[in-house]
Symmetry: C2
């Protein structure tokens, strides 16, 4: 098991990455200081059957009184209606201020259960147990929680740091190929914005990664999370450095919401968004043609899409990108790279973005 600490002052917490560690969850929670008492496991209809019993058993064996709350699998659960249902069930379970919420699942469960933990009784402890590649390498760490608004993704949310993250890479063995690959978009992102050596490694080892060797997976999950932890520790609330984690996400989010949630997986939209950001980086940050080509090639080698959809010029995409949370008037703060392994931000007018995407 690989263990490290995310340094966030009073909110510092441990991260554990490894193979066959779901059964350790209860012990790790007690070690992390989660009070023994009533807790809730929030999971979805896919994950419950696969890992629900193992996690609940581990938590109960460690002395917790655990209720399991199941929501339908899929992005539509990131809604105010599902959040309202969670509040009802948390009241039913008599969770008190000493209680905790264990979020067992992918990004949807982590975001939704995280927001419930952020707002139930003005905040209870949260344990993230991510079971998808995207959640393990990205969304479980950093304290961002959110649900969607019909008119914009992640519009409603809060910052709420977990007390513990348990990432068991074995859960990735049961992931459908498309869900596994979308997570690689975030791994490639960390390499592209922060770590040229990691990028070289990914270029060499993509076939082994796609074969899902547990040791190789634990390595890229740990590297990605350590990079994210470094950024989040320096900038918890996204005032500065943390913005670079949005590389590929401005166009990505707009693609996701304009195509209707669900047509693209998040990582697929980010993959296309990174290629778009590379084009903008060519124009506005001096990125070389060869580095832009390497990024596009690695994304393609990971089995991810690279091209904007044929109908992207319709009004929906334009409207969606203007709802970006980083919008300021007619411009948006956009993350660019000037070389593989180094990012910067620049305010770009929407008109200029549209031009380069063409």
């Amino acid at each position: 098991m690989r263990t490290f600490q995310v340094e966030l002052g009073a909110k510092s917490h441990p991260v554990h990455v490894g193979s066959a560690i779901l059964g350790e969850t209860g012990r790790l929670a007690a070690e992390a200081g989660i009070a023994r008492g009533r807790v809730a496991i929030i999971t979805d209809s896919n994950v419950a059957g696969l890992y629900g019993a193992k996690v609940a058993g581990s938590i109960r064996a460690a002395g917790y009184d655990a209720a399991t709350i199941e929501v339908p699998a899929g992005e539509p659960s990131k809604s105010l209606a599902t959040l309202a249902l969670l509040y009802d069930r948390l009241v039913d379970a008599e969770i008190d201020r000493q209680g905790a919420i264990f979020a067992l699942g992918g990004g949807v469960v982590g975001d939704l259960a995280g927001l419930a933990a952020a707002t139930f009784l003005r905040g209870v402890a949260l344990v993230q147990i991510p079971t998808t590649m995207v959640a393990q390498v990205d969304s479980a760490l950093g304290g961002k929680t959110a649900i969607n608004h019909p008119r914009a993704k992640n519009l409603i949310g809060a910052f709420h740091q977990p007390s513990l993250i348990v990432a068991d890479v074995d859960t990735m063995l049961t992931l459908p190929g498309r869900e596994f690959r979308e997570g690689l978009a975030e791994v490639i992102k960390y390499a592209a914005i922060m770590d040229a050596a990691m990028f070289d490694g990914l270029e060499r080892e993509m076939p082994a990664i796609l074969a899902r060797d547990p040791e190789r997976l634990a390595e890229i999950v740990e590297k990605s999370l350590r990079h994210k932890a470094f950024v989040v520790s320096s900038d918890e609330r996204e005032g500065g450095l943390r913005k670079i984690l949005n590389f590929g996400h401005t166009v990505g989010h707009a693609l996701e919401s304009s195509a209707g949630y669900g047509s693209y997986f998040h990582g697929e939209a980010v993959a296309i968004g990174m290629v778009a950001a590379a084009a903008l980086s060519r124009a506005y940050a001096g990125l070389s043609a060869s580095d832009a080509a390497r990024l596009e090639r690695l994304i393609r080698d990971a089995g991810l899409p690279t091209a904007m959809p044929p109908d992207w010029r319709g009004g929906e995409f334009t409207r969606a990108i203007r709802l970006d949370k980083k919008r300021a008037g007619d411009a948006v703060e956009f993350v660019l790279i000037d070389r593989i392994g180094h990012a910067l931000t620049r305010k770009l007018a929407f008109a200029d973005i549209m031009l380069q995407l063409g």
Copy 2:
């Protein structure tokens, strides 16, 4: 104008208390660093007609683009349904991350608009412009935001500090007597738990206070807020000292929710709760009979109720008090006073509480 700073590290902010200062709101917001751009004024159907135009005019004159969002007056607006409506209207108004929400109204508006500010785009700036006694002396300061759940008051919420508080005591001149008096419960609370000299002053000057002399009002609002600011600065998240602010609130909240929201005003329920807490303080903290009698007398002199309702032994009150956010198993952390001007907390079993209330 009386001005002081609430010390909360990066979240420190100014408080202004005075007569005829609503028209200064825009200038004070700019001074407090609220970015000029799109902002929203959230207010209710009572307050909008009285002060909406004055505040909106002041904000616009200072260079802001202000949309006004009105919710129905009254406690039922502290609901998930109203919060959902606010999200829609904030999207309509194109509020971005640099935007701000001005909460113009009493405790309901402050709590509701505060939670919207805490969760819209994972948090935008918040300006509290309290227009009732309760909001001016208590709820506007401290960062607590919340809505109600059908089964418990303030169950859903977040901590989100305002960037500025503007308390114009002239707004209290239009308050109905009952709403004015309920705010005095919180003023008496600060004196009872923290300031024996202030308590002496309130005993002497209650008639002048009830006559609503603006200078006298500004004085008690400032004193109350300074006391609260001191407590909140030492303990933002209610880990320790801040708990004493709940004096009178454990029984008070249970009374409010068991009698159906609205039968008691918040301050009235707290008034009864303080008399109940005095009885428990006699039994568990050595409070003298004469100090308990002084507290009950001052509450009565303020025109507030002191006795539990005749039917309180019904199951509703018992169920409600067991949902208290400070519950831990079969006990609750209860705030007591051992003398006028000094508070402490003690874990009391629900059974012992019920016994002393009898």
